[in-house]
């Protein structure tokens, strides 16, 4: 059984991809079959993922690799394959499980949409591609699936094709991630050139193993930074984060699956996967490439958290929250806490999907309302949504003890505090923790507590097909913390390939109280600031946000997302537009002119040939025929038709012949 799953690891990715094709070939009216097929595909993937996960528990530092040759050129061969190690195994289970919950949720959320079948086809396609990213053993194969995931994201963000804003957002997402992917591709080329292989693990010859790394030498830093460009684009780090909030134009299940739990996690996963490249030649656990990762991560984390405080769209707050949390994960990876970062990735996958699905439930219940200032008092109207959302909020804010997010955040803070290079990231991350608690509290107060306002007047709880996944994810968020506590750090040890011990004393750590205090401060601040705003009456015009009242300039700055989109518009996009215009001019006048000029040559030649034909050849032929006819007329004039003339000619000829013979003799 074990060997079977190692050899057939590709099935986990292939089954959803195949199902996606099957769904696309279904007719218009087979909605139930489409949804059922997609869910079955996801269940199969989940079952296989669990099958793959179980053997990895048997021994520490498990790794099963299956490589094969894709094609050969000359005497070189391009080899690809798949790998199963703790990192891949937990990612597989998380992606499959979260995906399954979201698929079930989508059955309810997209029930009235007429493109139901296309949605499930795209979702399945995405799922297959994402699962492929985590099991790829070759950087090239990973890149292929990476791009497929980007394609799926584009298709799903722009799912409602009749909306120009959605189409623009999809284009923005694709192009922004593409910019990052250019760096990724360059890094991949450099890596292949230096080490001769793109396989990660290949019995000692892989590029992540000691022999391959030795061949890279000092260029490992640059290769790592180039590959990090891809992660920056995909995971929405500063400066390529601008596509993530716009990606909220897509349906909410898409936001939950792609832009919270899985696709954006691919960037963090990539850094974790090629971590040996980053940490090559580390002194005290610090290398230049890892330092870059830390600073970009902490910048992103803090910046996004600040912007989130001033947003009014329920999904945008969550989108910026995702960006901030991804920054936090990058910080964790950068300071050396790879296991901590991945644990937070997994926990984040669960609770962020939960929060997005909860937001989707709220939007569905409020009949399409997105603005939190128009909601309120949903606590009594949508109790299940409220409870699960509260669980998600507490997990995200980092409330410790029962909520997984708290424990993972602990680990990250612990790792960041012990970074030898600088303590600044630690303090900034602490600030980020406070801000996270603050904006989540703000959101909960505006949406669920206080009085009902315009949007929530006719709100109703979502159907069971939507609330069941919410409950499932909330339970995951809570019970996941069982393997995360310091008392029994099972996941931490599993990821690092160590043995684990159960010690209840480890539960209480000094950092624990620091983060508890911070979270409490953030929640308290939120409650103090927004309580009155939440209680605002439905008949009055929306009041100013308390922060806006206190610091209008700063609030406007944050509300407009630090004017970064506008900055990019004026610089990068303007430059691209100019290039496009120049190219267009060149195409229309220069290249087209050349082509028309060459065409003119052809025309001239044609005219010349036609004249030669008309005046030369035709005339010649006409003259010849005229001459022949004239000659004929001449000859026929000699034929008088009279016998005696002919006889006379014969006689004269005979005479001439006789004289000739006589003369000869």
């Amino acid at each position: 059984m074990n060997r079977w799953i190692f050899d057939s690891l590709w099935l986990i990715s292939a089954v959803p991809l195949a199902i996606s094709l099957v769904i696309l070939s279904l007719g218009k009216s087979r909605r139930k079959s489409a949804a059922a097929l997609a869910i079955i595909g996801q269940v199969v993937a989940l079952v296989f993922a669990i099958f793959a996960f179980l053997p990895t528990l048997q021994m520490p530092s498990f790794r099963a690799v299956q490589n094969f040759t894709w094609f050969t050129f000359g005497d070189q061969a391009l080899r690809i394959g798949w790998v199963l190690d703790p990192l891949a195994a937990v990612m597989l289970v998380m992606i499959a499980l979260v995906g399954l919950c979201i698929f079930i949720f989508s059955v309810g959320y997209m029930a009235e949409d007429k493109n139901f079948i296309r949605f499930f086809a795209y979702l399945s396609f995405f799922s297959g591609a994402m699962l492929g990213v985590v099991i790829a053993n070759s950087l090239l194969l990973l890149f292929v699936f990476w791009e497929l995931v980007g394609l799926a994201s584009y298709l799903l963000i722009g799912f409602w094709i009749e909306r120009p804003s959605a189409a623009a957002a999809a284009k923005k997402a694709f192009i922004t991630t593409r910019i990052g992917d250019m760096g990724f591709f360059l890094g991949m080329l450099w890596l292949y050139h230096s080490s001769g292989t793109l396989l990660f693990y290949d019995e000692g010859h892989g590029c992540l193993e000691s022999a391959g790394l030795a061949m890279l030498g000092a260029s490992a830093t640059f290769v790592a930074l180039l590959i990090f460009c891809g992660a920056v684009g995909k995971s929405g780090q500063f400066p390529l984060h601008v596509w993530l909030p716009d990606a909220m134009e897509g349906p909410t299940p898409v936001s939950a699956l792609i832009h919270a739990a899985t696709m954006v996690a691919a960037g963090v996963f990539l850094v974790a996967r090629v971590y040996p490249l980053f940490s090559f030649g580390a002194i005290d656990g610090v290398t230049p490439s890892l330092t870059v990762v830390v600073w970009i991560g902490v910048t992103t984390a803090l910046m996004a958290a600040l912007i989130a405080i001033a947003q009014a769209d329920i999904k945008r707050i969550l989108a910026y929250s995702t960006v901030s949390q991804l920054g936090l994960m990058m910080v964790s990876l950068g300071v050396g806490g790879v296991a901590a970062g991945i644990m937070h990735l997994l926990a984040h996958g669960f609770f962020k999907a939960l929060l997005f699905l909860g937001a989707g439930s709220v939007i569905h219940g409020c009949h399409g309302e997105h603005d939190i200032r128009n909601m309120g008092g949903l606590r009594r109207l949508m109790p299940v949504t409220f409870l699960t959302y509260a669980v998600g909020m507490m997990a995200l804010s980092g409330v410790p003890l029962f909520f997984s997010g708290g424990w993972t955040k602990e680990e990250i803070l612990h790792a960041t505090a012990h970074w030898p290079k600088s303590h600044v990231p630690y303090y900034l991350v602490l600030g980020g923790v406070v801000l996270t608690a603050l904006y989540m509290t703000r959101q909960i107060i505006y949406v669920f507590l206080g009085n009902r306002r315009a949007g929530s007047s006719h709100a109703h709880e979502s159907p069971r097909v939507m609330t069941m996944p919410l409950i499932a994810l909330a339970l995951c968020a809570i019970f996941f913390s069982a393997v995360l506590t310091p008392a029994w750090p099972w996941l931490h040890a599993y990821l690092r390939g160590e043995r684990v011990h159960f010690e209840i004393a480890q539960l209480i750590q000094p950092m624990f109280f620091v983060s508890l205090g911070l979270v409490g401060a953030g929640v308290g601040l939120g409650v103090w600031l927004y309580r009155k705003a939440g209680l605002q009456d439905r008949d009055r015009a929306p009041e100013m946000d308390p922060l806006e009242y206190a610091q209008p300039a700063l609030f406007r700055f944050l509300e407009n997302r630090m004017w970064l989109d506008e900055f990019y518009d004026r610089t990068v996009i303007a430059f691209a537009t100019i290039c496009a215009r120049v190219s267009d001019w060149m195409d229309r006048h220069v290249w087209d002119g050349l082509v028309r000029g060459l065409g003119g040559f052809g025309e001239l030649f044609g005219i010349f040939t036609s004249n030669v034909d008309e005046r030369g050849i035709n005339a010649g032929v006409d003259e010849t025929t005229a001459g022949t006819r004239g000659l004929g007329r001449l000859m026929s004039a000699a034929h008088s038709g009279q016998i005696q003339t002919y006889l006379g000619v014969v006689a004269i000829g005979l005479l001439v012949l006789l004289l000739f013979y006589a003369w000869l003799a």
Partner: protein, 104 residues
């Protein structure tokens, strides 16, 4: 005057030319036929002359040829007359100058 071969040849040549003249210059079709007969006669005379003055006049070779020739001339004259009659029936004229259907 001694009878030599040349005398006979001169006579046959003269006869031939007269016949040729008749065939070429007369307008009436019958007269052309007469001319052709005269040319045939001249040819016969030639044959007899060469036989008479040949090495072995006792073999009747020349006479045989002349007899064959006269018989064939007779047949050919019949055919020619048939042709003339047929042409006359169609064109109502024996004037060969008017028979120029093959004029080019």
């Amino acid at each position: 005057m001694t009878l030599t071969l040349q005398l006979f040849l001169i006579v046959s040549t003269a006869l031939f030319c007269i016949g040729l003249l008749a065939a070429l210059s007369r307008r009436h079709a019958i007269f052309i036929l007469i001319g052709i007969e005269m040319m045939l006669a001249a040819a016969n005379l030639n044959f007899i002359a060469f036989w008479r003055f040949s090495l072995d006049p006792h073999q009747p070779t020349g006479v045989m040829i002349a007899i064959f020739s006269i018989a064939i001339a007779a047949a050919e004259a019949a055919v020619g007359l048939a042709l003339v009659i047929s042409v006359y029936r169609h064109y109502r004229t024996t004037n060969v100058d008017e028979l120029d259907q093959l004029k080019g």
